[in-house]
């Protein structure tokens, strides 16, 4: 479904991604794990068209994404849930979700959009209760749910999730992971970026490990979970955090 072929990206002159290749098949959950500054968000932003790719190609369902505008990419069926949630804080929950459906109003899908509101409120009942509340007053977990709900309102085929577990309590993380499994069961394809490698690999079919802008390792989740390098550099960290 998504094929990335040896792309390079730069911020000014600094290379943030070098020779990155990655693929996601239909209805797969793929995890991308790596430390701070490894280039995970950069990769998602390159897919979404928010930053330009200077070399290499990105294909989505055999269509080349290079050079397309972000709105064209959303229209093709790729939505991103950005890092740190990035909901529109002064706006209400409902307004945020309506903005998520922005690309679809053009297509006169009024009825379908109303159904999607229902679907998302079933997925996250708390959002229905908070519908008219200013979203900046939601808790961190609720904001993350809203960010996911907002992305789903565009009815994507591929969902890009950037560190959905960041700063959330273990219980909330579990809810989010359950949601991811749930969404996949309903036919969605997901590329999941995480520092929380254990959590990510638990729900993913396959995983990639990225370090300083390069893919260092790839494989099935079970294999990565027992891989010595991965354990030392990423899973070990979880324990450290745990004891702190």
């Amino acid at each position: 479904m998504l094929r990335i072929k040896s792309i390079h990206t730069y911020y000014k002159k600094i290379r943030a991604l070098s020779n990155v290749s990655l693929s996601v098949r239909e209805n797969e959950v793929v995890a991308l794990i790596g430390a701070n500054g490894a280039g995970k968000s950069t990769l998602l932003n390159a897919i979404s068209g928010l930053i330009p790719v200077s070399r290499g190609d990105i294909f989505f369902k055999n269509k080349k994404l290079n050079g397309l505008k972000p709105e064209e990419i959303v229209n093709l069926g790729i939505s991103q849930v950005p890092e740190g949630r990035q909901i529109f804080q002064p706006m209400t929950v409902k307004e945020n979700l309506e903005l998520g459906a922005y690309v679809r109003f053009k297509k006169r899908e009024k009825k379908e959009i109303a159904e999607d509101f229902d679907r998302i409120y079933q997925l996250f009942p708390i959002l229905r209760e908070r519908e008219d509340q200013v979203s900046g007053t939601l808790s961190g977990g609720e904001q993350q749910m809203l960010a996911i709900g907002r992305a789903l309102m565009a009815r994507p085929r591929l969902l890009l999730l950037d560190e959905p577990s960041m700063g959330l309590a273990p219980k909330v993380v579990t809810t989010i992971l359950k949601t991811i499994e749930n969404l996949r069961r309903n036919g969605l394809t997901i590329l999941l970026v995480e520092q929380n490698a254990r959590a990510a690999l638990k729900v993913a079919d396959r995983g990639y490990v990225i370090e300083t802008g390069r893919i260092m390792l790839e494989g099935d989740s079970e294999d990565l979970l027992v891989d010595n390098d991965v354990r030392r550099s990423y899973l070990g960290k979880d324990y450290e955090k745990f004891y702190e």
Binding site: S48, E71, P82, Q86, Q89, M91, L99, G100, Y102, V103
Partner: protein, 320 residues
């Protein structure tokens, strides 16, 4: 279209209309109409600018130029070429909108200070043209002999008559703007003002919106400018230099960014303030500055939202 307005908005608008109709009955002298008319003209410019600054988050220091283009184009077409006003005003407004588009496309790619500088630069260029292009604009001494507006053979040649016209135009534009910000387009604009990158990640065409709202705000300024020209019948370049641009931005900020009613309040207060300060004569600039500073220090969100908050606080205390 009007159905879109919520009931609370209706109440506010009815109150507004009643006030506009009542005020003339109680005003002691025609001098006050002059001030009220200037308030309305400023409020029209502020209305458009508020959409640009308060909602889309883009600052312009060039709107005096659009105000001036509206005034000069309609003025020249009627005074020098004998066009009828019902043609000259639409042509002036449309031409200005096109200029807005041509200025907006390159400048809105810029951000923050650069956008401010670019629009300021545009304003200065227009000012220079108005002064230098003597043959067309009348140069620094101005353009005279602009005809009064006419509505159904009634010449709008007094402050009192113009009052009804300009406040009606403001009212209509105000309703249109209220509808705009409550729509899907308005939500998209607010999203852009909030965080343009997130907005574009949702599929909102950010550039197009920024340019679009810039053109709308230029258009509002041009409407005000052309009405102004046919009201005072004499215009000169000084009215349209960048000091006026700063003045209208100040009205937006002092009134309260991001609420149309606050913008109206800002326009009213800052238009009247210099008149009130006539009492303190030679100190008026000083006091004017002090008042502005006080507002920004004590009501950083703007005057109207600040007062509202204070009021709610008091109400709260009363209930305790």
């Amino acid at each position: 279209m009007i159905k879109l307005l919520s009931s609370s908005k209706w109440k506010q608008l009815i109150l507004f209309t009643v006030a506009v109709l009542l005020i003339p009955q109680i005003l002691p002298s025609d001098y006050y109409f002059l001030i009220l008319n200037i308030i309305a003209l400023n409020a029209i410019v502020v209305l458009g600018l508020n959409l640009l600054i308060g909602f889309a988050g883009q600052i312009s220091l060039g709107h005096a130029a659009f105000y001036g283009l509206g005034a000069y184009i309609s003025g020249i077409l009627t005074a020098s070429y004998g066009w009828p006003i019902f043609l000259s005003i639409p042509v002036a407004v449309l031409t200005t909108a096109i200029v807005g588009l041509l200025v907006g496309i390159p400048t809105l790619k810029l951000e923050g200070h650069y956008l401010v500088m670019a629009t300021l630069g545009f304003n200065i260029i227009v000012s220079i043209i108005l002064v230098q292009w003597d043959a067309m604009t009348g140069g620094p001494s101005g353009l005279a002999g602009i005809p009064y507006l006419k509505a159904f053979s009634i010449s709008i040649d007094s402050d009192r008559k113009f009052y009804y016209l300009v406040w009606a135009v403001l009212g209509v534009l105000f309703c249109l703007s209220l509808n705009l910000i409550d729509s899907r387009v308005g939500r998209a604009l607010r999203a852009i003002g909030e965080d343009p990158i997130s907005a574009s990640a949702l599929g909102i065409p950010v550039e197009r919106y920024k340019v679009g709202i810039f053109v709308v705000s230029a258009l509002y300024a041009a409407v005000a400018g052309s009405l102004y020209a046919h009201y005072v019948t004499f215009i000169s370049p000084k009215t349209f230099d960048f000091f006026y641009s700063i003045e209208v931005v100040t009205m937006v900020v002092v009134g309260g960014i991001g609420s149309l009613w606050s913008g109206l309040a800002g326009a009213a207060i800052l238009t009247m303030l210099p008149e009130i300060l006539e009492i303190v004569k030679e100190y008026n600039v000083l006091v004017y500055g002090a008042v502005l500073m006080a507002v920004l220090v004590f009501f950083p969100e703007g005057l109207l939202p600040g007062i509202k908050k204070l009021w709610q606080k008091r109400q709260g205390q009363v209930h305790e």
